[in-house]
């Protein structure tokens, strides 16, 4: 876990990436301390992956730079590569090679001494319970098994920082839980600095020491999950959950018209309302009655990261996927069921 006053492991300085006039990452300056799990949370196309690609030297920034463990991204690219590991969204593994052969290849490319290599591979395989599959070709594995190898592949080189782009994307719930445990363990046991991107709120909440909310290429807010939530509470927001009997389809819209309501979203018979006043509860309940909504239940709830995101960006995180996958519970999909449409 992060200690106060820890050494800066990553420091980006106005990092910017433009593609043909489109700015994917816009003057991002953030700091990740040694031993921290840092989450980049944002919707599709927010610039998370582009940011990670720049920090792993896969893409040259259009402007700005970063220092990773003291090495400059541009001037000491070679050193940066030795320092970081990457778990990218597309798995970095060769299907026709066995798990062991895949791990060995990357150990060799990272110049891991021969004496240490096999011991390390063995240990990593053991941690993810894949020892008995070591000599099977990756192509025969299930997605969950593949991802285990994919994650430990990034660790054969003993990196000091690991970047993980959507590490639980498309995994079954069991594998998702295992991978999350594994990430926690690496961080706690080995003090590994981890930067992960996710668009699953729950994941960020559970795993990350600090979170950077990223939207349209910019960091909208930064802090620990608790800090971020507290920040919207400080500013006098109220989150109200309404359970409505026989809700009309425009229930959320009717509530949005109420003064002080920043947003309202409806999932079946539940309407989730965020108001910008601390004392808004009574008004919302009254307004519901005036709008012809019959309440079964109404309660003030804790702000979630979803609410935080909405607060800082004015947009809901799940907007883009809403029509693709019906998500329950205010956008917190079941773990591991994160779904994103292709083609950014």
């Amino acid at each position: 876990m992060a200690d106060a006053g820890a050494r800066k492991m990553i420091e980006t300085l106005g990092l910017t990436k433009r593609f043909n006039g489109f700015t994917a990452v816009d003057r991002v300056s953030l700091t990740v301390n040694e031993g921290e799990v840092y989450g980049l949370l944002g919707p599709n196309g927010a610039g998370k992956s582009t940011l990670i690609r720049m920090l792993t030297t896969l893409s040259n920034p259009s402007e700005g730079t970063a220092r990773i463990s003291g090495y400059d991204l541009l001037k000491d690219a070679e050193k940066v590569r030795e320092t970081v590991g990457i778990v990218s969204e597309k798995m970095i593994m060769y299907d026709r090679l066995t798990a062991y052969e895949n791990l060995r290849l990357f150990a060799k490319l990272y110049n891991v001494p021969r004496r240490e290599m096999d011991a390390r591979i063995e240990e990593l395989l053991k941690i993810v319970n894949m020892t008995k599959w070591a000599d099977e070709q990756i192509g025969k594995f299930s997605t969950g098994m593949k991802q285990r190898i994919n994650v430990i592949r990034a660790l054969v080189s003993m990196p000091r920082v690991v970047f993980m782009d959507e590490p639980t994307l498309g995994l079954d719930p069991q594998s998702t839980a295992d991978i999350r445990d594994f990430i926690k363990r690496l961080n706690e046991r080995d003090g590994l600095t981890i930067v992960l991107t996710t668009h699953i709120m729950n994941e960020a909440d559970v795993l990350c020491d600090r979170i950077g909310l990223i939207d349209k290429g910019r960091i909208a807010a930064e802090g620990s999950p608790a800090e971020l939530k507290a920040r919207i509470a400080d500013r006098g927001s109220t989150v109200v959950e309404l359970d409505i009997i026989d809700p009309p389809p425009d229930a959320a819209e009717r509530l949005r018209a109420v003064e002080g309501v920043r947003s309202a979203s409806q999932k079946e018979n539940c309407v989730h309302v965020i108001a910008s006043r601390e004392d808004a509860f009574q008004d919302i309940v009254n307004a519901s009655a005036r709008a012809g909504l019959r309440l079964r239940n109404a309660s003030v709830s804790q702000p979630s990261l979803e609410d935080v995101f909405l607060h800082f960006t004015g947009r809901a995180m799940v907007e883009e996927v809403k029509d693709k996958v019906p998500m329950r519970g205010g956008g917190h999909g079941p773990p591991g069921m994160g779904f994103r449409p292709r083609g950014r």
Partner: protein, 397 residues
Amino acid sequence: MGAKTLISHSLWIAHKDLLEFSRNRVMLGMLFVFPLFMMLMTGYIFPSGNTIRDMPVAVVNLDDFNGTQGPESLGFYAGLEAVNHRTGYFVLSNSSTESAAREQITRGERTGAVVILANFTSNLRTGGQGYVTVLYDQSKPQISLQLTSILNAVISQMGTQRAVSTVNRTTGEDNNTSMAIVIPYKVQNKGTVPGNPNYFEFMAPGMMMMVVMFSVMTGLPRAISHEKEAGTFDGVLAAPTSRFSIILGKTIAQSVRGMIQGAVVLLLALTLFGVTVNGSVLLVVFLLLLGIFSFIGLGIAITSAARDEETASTFMMVLQFPMLFLSGVFFPIEQMPVYMQYVAKAMPLTYATSAMRKVVVLGAGLGDILTEVAVLLVFGVVLLLVAIPLFKKAMTR
């Protein structure tokens, strides 16, 4: 980064590629099937040293000698049949009129026709020449070329025999002297190496060169863009591995694959198609490697320019097609118009093919192919100088 690390990385990358390749049964099969197909196809569709046989030819006898076909024309026909009986070039059949024969050619029923014109017998008997027209099918230029040249040769041979026997009869000289009077110059054609080279011998060296060079040229962009699309390339690029190691490793793997394919071509040529290697096998291997070297820059440049596998393949197609036909693998470039020869001379494959052919067919040594070797080296160096910066730039887009 030390040279040792660089080499070690490239060997591991090559090892990985070959391991993947060796576990892909379809690709392994293609390694053998592709050259076999290419050799069979090209060996049989292009005009080979062997003559076409059994060409259907109509014979029209319009000779009129005392109301009937004269003895000279009948003798001519008989002579034609006798030659054909020995050689089997044609299938001869009668047609009544020239227009009937023309119609048969138009319908594709006959390849050509021999028309013995009117007054054939009487012309010959009165000290004139007997006239024969050969009709041929203009829609099949290559077959027509063969047909007309064979028919001309056969007919002129028949004429020679007739002349020899006439001289024999009138001068009373023996056959040899009569022959010397009629044909005073005797030509003998001899190659500089023993044996009678067939079309495969002409084609196989270029074919081997082409298969190897194309295999690498297409294999490299495909291998890299495939990895790019699959996302695995990110893993290699994010590792502390020099870009040069990556290119070198990929090239080594593709070269090994290409050389195996080249060996398959050579083996097929030796065993199935009766080709013999007159030069040094080591020189053959050297030329194959040099061919790869001369071309590899092009493959790298295409890899850098193409964003995905499909684009890469399209690029390759556009470049390969002209090379396939213009670089002298199947047709000698000397038979092309001068301006096309200039195009051919801008292609490394032309020099590689020419050098390989000299070594395989003529048994040339290194000293005989220095020009080609130098040109290929220059091609290789120039293309690499252009390609490597492009590649480095493209990798961190």
